[in-house]
């Protein structure tokens, strides 16, 4: 197969951006379900966004 290797990085980046969009579509109320309090740091959508950001950097750097 003659598919350029850089495409893999682009596909990964698009995939991670899609994940970030889906994560922020989840309502805040469901994210905090059962949580001891509603502190901002408990919003795991933010954790997911940090994760996705790191992945974007990695797949941009190691192209």
């Amino acid at each position: 197969m003659d598919l350029p290797t850089a495409w893999a990085n682009y596909v990964s980046i698009v995939g991670f951006l899609f994940v970030a969009l889906v994560v922020w579509a989840i309502p805040r109320r469901l994210i905090y379900k059962d949580a001891p309090d509603h502190a901002a740091w408990r919003d795991i959508r933010i954790w997911a966004s940090v994760l996705v950001s790191i992945q974007l950097v990695l797949y941009l750097v190691f192209t």
Binding site: M1, T5, A8, S12, G15, F16, V23, I26, L30, D34
Partner: protein, 497 residues
């Protein structure tokens, strides 16, 4: 041939090793006081916080193949090996945290086979549990053997002594303390792994005169070693196969349906802790390549005198780390293997006790689950200890079992996804899909197709087959769909209002 360390152990290394073993056993014995019921033993009495869950998940994940095999592969292919920690883990872990863990939590199950049993039928539950248990026993034996070899290489202990000592230590805290002890010791073990790994990175970069020099030397001789993906025609890791096979099928099957991984999530204090624990594990997972991939590349840059790539990690420990730190790194490898063994025996014991015993035995006395679980933990450990010396003689058998398991991954993921997201999938269709999906995967594999493509092809086939056959069959039972299928966010919002 493993790298021989030859020189006697430095007293500082010995002190660190003895101190580690003492702490691990102490934690296990402390935790045993909390175990009063099977619920305490298998799910830690639903008491685990998110950070313990996250660290324990990583401890379970980093196993026999990570330190030795992944660093060896990194020696050969470079940073592309890290895809197993990035695209081959992170999206699936986010999906597990936000979709599947809330679903299992809502269903109130102890195990993933139990969920499949409620959603499909008890035959599917027992089949899933049996497959997982057989593979787990082999995996535990391989991990024990890997520890024995490491102890022989590093300390000069005969392999049977290594197996006996490891089995006794792991058995002491796993049998006594159950999941809570396993999770707490895993957390400690992962912390040690990260300290050891970061020290290797620090010293390795210093030895090679900075990162720029490291990268320049690496890419001068191996131009592809800092590229995340390898060419599409690469024999082992073609990039379309990595994205489709690993990213779309194998990774979600592992992170969203792996019992050993998810059991600590089911033992969380709250649903939030369960989801946050998986997300925390994903954050840690992002940095795991520093522990298992970097040493392989470092050995290459430093022109390590090794016969096989799998010796890369041992060479780095011997040649880069000073006394004390090399003892810590040695502990990190042992800890990685121990944390896989303890999680394996605890989750296997759970599946035999509940998913097989409760279904196959009539009028089973559920009040005896705790004692049965403890005995099974001991029996499984003894079985693995007896099997471990045979691993080297069995040669390809473990690989064969692993290949067999990966043949199931595509169909199993299809069953889980359509079972969780739709009400259409029926038990009859599930069983037929499982059988024909595995047959298809076997046929495609025998044609010499890369395993990553086999996994993707069997997954797509299984999705289509399950959807189609379900249209012609009726469910044997009528599951509680509201509890067992995923309700989209917009509908959950409406229900809350």
């Amino acid at each position: 041939m493993p790298v021989s360390f030859g020189a006697p152990l430095h007293p500082l290394d010995l002190a660190i090793i003895v101190g580690y073993l003492a702490i691990i056993i102490f934690v296990g014995i402390r935790m045993s006081g909390r175990v009063k019921t099977a619920h305490d033993f298998f799910l830690a009495g639903r008491s685990l916080g998110f950070w313990i869950i996250g660290l324990s998940i990583i401890g379970t994940n980093i196993g026999a193949d990570s330190y030795i095999g992944a660093s060896g592969n990194a020696y050969l292919v470079g940073i592309a090996q890290a895809n197993f920690e990035w695209i081959g883990a992170i999206p699936a872990m986010i999906m597990a945290a936000l979709v599947f863990i809330p679903l299992y939590w809502k269903a109130g199950v102890y195990s993933i086979p139990e969920y499949l049993g409620l959603r499909y039928n008890q035959a599917v539950r027992v089949t899933a549990a049996l497959i997982t248990c057989v593979v787990a026993v082999f995996a535990i034996a391989v991990a024990l053997w890997a520890i024995a070899i490491t102890l022989e290489t590093y300390l000069g202990w005969p392999t049977w002594v290594g197996i006996l000592v490891t089995g006794t230590v792991v058995g002491a805290y796993s049998v006594a303390g159950g999941l809570a002890a396993v999770a707490f010791t895993d957390s400690l073990q992962v912390s040690i792994m990260f300290i050891g790994g970061l020290v290797i990175v620090w010293l390795g970069i210093s030895e090679t005169d900075g990162f720029d020099n490291f990268a320049a030397t690496l890419t001068h001789e191996n131009p592809n070693h800092l590229q995340a993906y390898l060419p599409a025609d690469h024999e082992s890791f073609p990039w379309p196969g990595v994205i489709l096979g690993l990213g779309v099928v194998l990774s979600p099957a592992y992170w969203c349906a792996g019992q050993a991984i998810l059991q600590r999530s089911l033992g969380a204090k709250t649903q939030w802790d369960a989801s946050a624990g998986m997300m925390f594990a994903a954050l840690a997972k992002t940095f795991v390549p520093l522990l298992v991939v970097f040493p392989g590349m470092l050995a290459l840059v430093m022109h390590a005198d090794i016969e096989f790539p799998d010796q890369a990690m041992a060479w780095v420990i011997k040649n880069v780390l000073p006394p004390g730190i090399s003892g810590l790194m040695f502990i990190a490898i042992i800890a990685a293997l121990q944390s896989s063994i303890d999680s394996g025996i605890n989750s296997t014991s759970l599946m035999i006790t509940r998913d097989i015993r409760h279904v196959l035995l009539k009028n089973v006395d559920k009040s005896k689950d705790l004692i049965v679980g403890r005995y099974l933990t001991l029996v499984l450990l003894l079985a693995a200890m007896a099997t471990a010396p045979l691993i080297s003689k069995m040669g390809g058998i473990y690989e064969f079992v692993q290949t067999m398991l990966s043949l199931f991954q595509g169909p199993m993921l299809a069953l889980l996804l359509l079972g969780a997201f739709t009400r259409r999938a029926t038990a009859t269709a599930g069983l037929w899909t499982l059988i024909t999906g595995v047959m298809l995967a076997t046929i495609v594999l025998t044609l010499g197709v890369n395993m990553l493509y086999v996994a993707f092809a069997s997954f797509i086939y299984s999705l289509i087959a399950l959807w189609t056959i379900s249209g012609f069959t009726q469910p044997e039972i009528h599951p509680d769909y509201d509890k067992l299928t995923y309700v989209p966010w917009w509908r959950q919002q409406q229900e809350l209002v």
